[in-house]
Symmetry: C2
Subunit: 352 residues, 2 copies
Amino acid sequence: MRNLRIDGERLWASLMDLARIGATPKGCKFDGAFGVMAALEVVRTLNDLGWETAAPIEIVAWTNEEGSRFSPAMVGSGVFAGVFDLAYGLGRPDNTSGVTLGAEFERIGFAGPEPVGGRAVAAYFEAHIEQGPILEAAGKPIGVVTGAQGQRWYEVTVTGQEAHAGPTPMPRRRDALVGASRMIEAVNRIGHAHAPNACATVGFVQVSPNSRNSIPGRVFFTVEFRHPEDAVLTEMDRALRQACAEIAAAIGLEVEVSEFWYFPPTPFDPDLVAAVRDAAEAQGYPHQDIISGAGHDAVYMARVAPTAMIFVPCVGGISHNEIEDAKPEDLTAGCNVLLNAVLDLGSACRRP
Amino acid sequence: MRNLRIDGERLWASLMDLARIGATPKGCKFDGAFGVMAALEVVRTLNDLGWETAAPIEIVAWTNEEGSRFSPAMVGSGVFAGVFDLAYGLGRPDNTSGVTLGAEFERIGFAGPEPVGGRAVAAYFEAHIEQGPILEAAGKPIGVVTGAQGQRWYEVTVTGQEAHAGPTPMPRRRDALVGASRMIEAVNRIGHAHAPNACATVGFVQVSPNSRNSIPGRVFFTVEFRHPEDAVLTEMDRALRQACAEIAAAIGLEVEVSEFWYFPPTPFDPDLVAAVRDAAEAQGYPHQDIISGAGHDAVYMARVAPTAMIFVPCVGGISHNEIEDAKPEDLTAGCNVLLNAVLDLGSACRRP
């Protein structure tokens, strides 16, 4: 372990310079950007110190990680890793105008001649803000990410009988929203029942007719479950279906629970994870193992290359939000761990 | 009691003719239209039979009862009864274009020279479909409406912390939707606790940011309570505020419960109610007393004149919906009761 140090001020300045490009009131400065700027800082540091690695280091800025403009998310790493084929990726339409990702690459000059993927990658590291509250609460600047949670995503439709809210007595109602509310509470209970690693969320709700004085006849909502173990996800799936069926039957509703996305749990490479842990230890940073709850390009890369991630805390555990923030010293710590983990893996490094 | 009979086939034909004007896939054929066509049929019958009443009979087609295009609802009867002043009524803007009700009256030639209201009304009767399931379930063609429920309408805003659904552990969440779901269940419980006359409904829900993989940071929803007794409405109000406060405190949410509309319970005139009941009895129609849960022009008219209503069943208790339906024989029964109750009140009627 060589225990080199990056230049934290240069890293911070790069992030702030980058944040000025395309800034909006909700411009998030760190989600994604930190990983790319940290990789750049690693290479700059190696150049400054005159180090050369046995294997070449590539810095990747994956296209369309968020999927905000072109669905689905992580389409760049997905194509690289063979999850999607290239034509599918290039053909993704803009969510509003319909112009394709491939056409936009041509227009802005990003459509290069290199083939996507297909070459050997010895190791893939990704540094990222945690986007959750665990490291901040624990007071630790480094999260050693041991893998990514599996995910099961559902769409639930509850159907009752729309009616006028005034003249319809309570016992005669088949109120889809009362049913949906009990199901949302059940989703929450299923999440808590599998603490500490389970997440269970209803994020989207659509009520019909959504009128102040109508008993809702139909409610559509989404459910997502996350857990690092497939067996637990299976049990959560069973509990969801049972709860929805029982709640619907009690009020005379119909319910349809449809799973539309499954993402298997992804353990990261033990050697790379150990390299991250060792680097944090050697640099004297408090650290803890952590499971990634969010999707990352690293999760696709883990299908084709040994992979690990480094998390740093974000303020209040908040991301995807205008108040997303991170401390410079934590970003420096994460970048130092990235540098030394990379050097550890490329153990044939030499000082020319 | 003279026990005259209207022409049920003519009444039905009038309703079907009217329904063809401005028909849409959600054209309701009976809500409102039945009352006007029934009044017309009463006058046609009196003319056919050569009867004349001591007091003149006016047929009213109230403007803008639904409030679909110009808010608020019942603005015509409200101006007549002095609930709103005339300038307010004429100044109501179209919900989308902003053109006023008064300007539209001028354009279509409905702006007449008569003053609105201000003259004595000895009795006001209104026939209406029930818009609820009670009469159909009881197998009775006539509801003797003894009064209208009081209403309290609320807006509730629940604020938690928006966060990424993946990396935020269950115990650290302040999920506004979980809180709102428990409050919606509490509203339902409060309604059932005051059966059989209470109604408690959440009809409108708005979740923010309403994204599949975000923990909702804010939920806005409406509550409406209805009951014929003010003391019960006061108790329901107390229970709502207590439940919302307790649920919010348990999850660390903020909640704001704001009442924005109060409509006092309106008992109808005992003499007119008795005239309706007597007419149903004399005609041999099964009947029962019933409280109106919906708002009606009659509720405003009750402020300035002795008032009563006659309900007839609607199929499945459904209204405000494309499948609204009513049976011709029930409409005939309601119109016969209206005819004879009107004649009973105008007791100085004579055959010329």
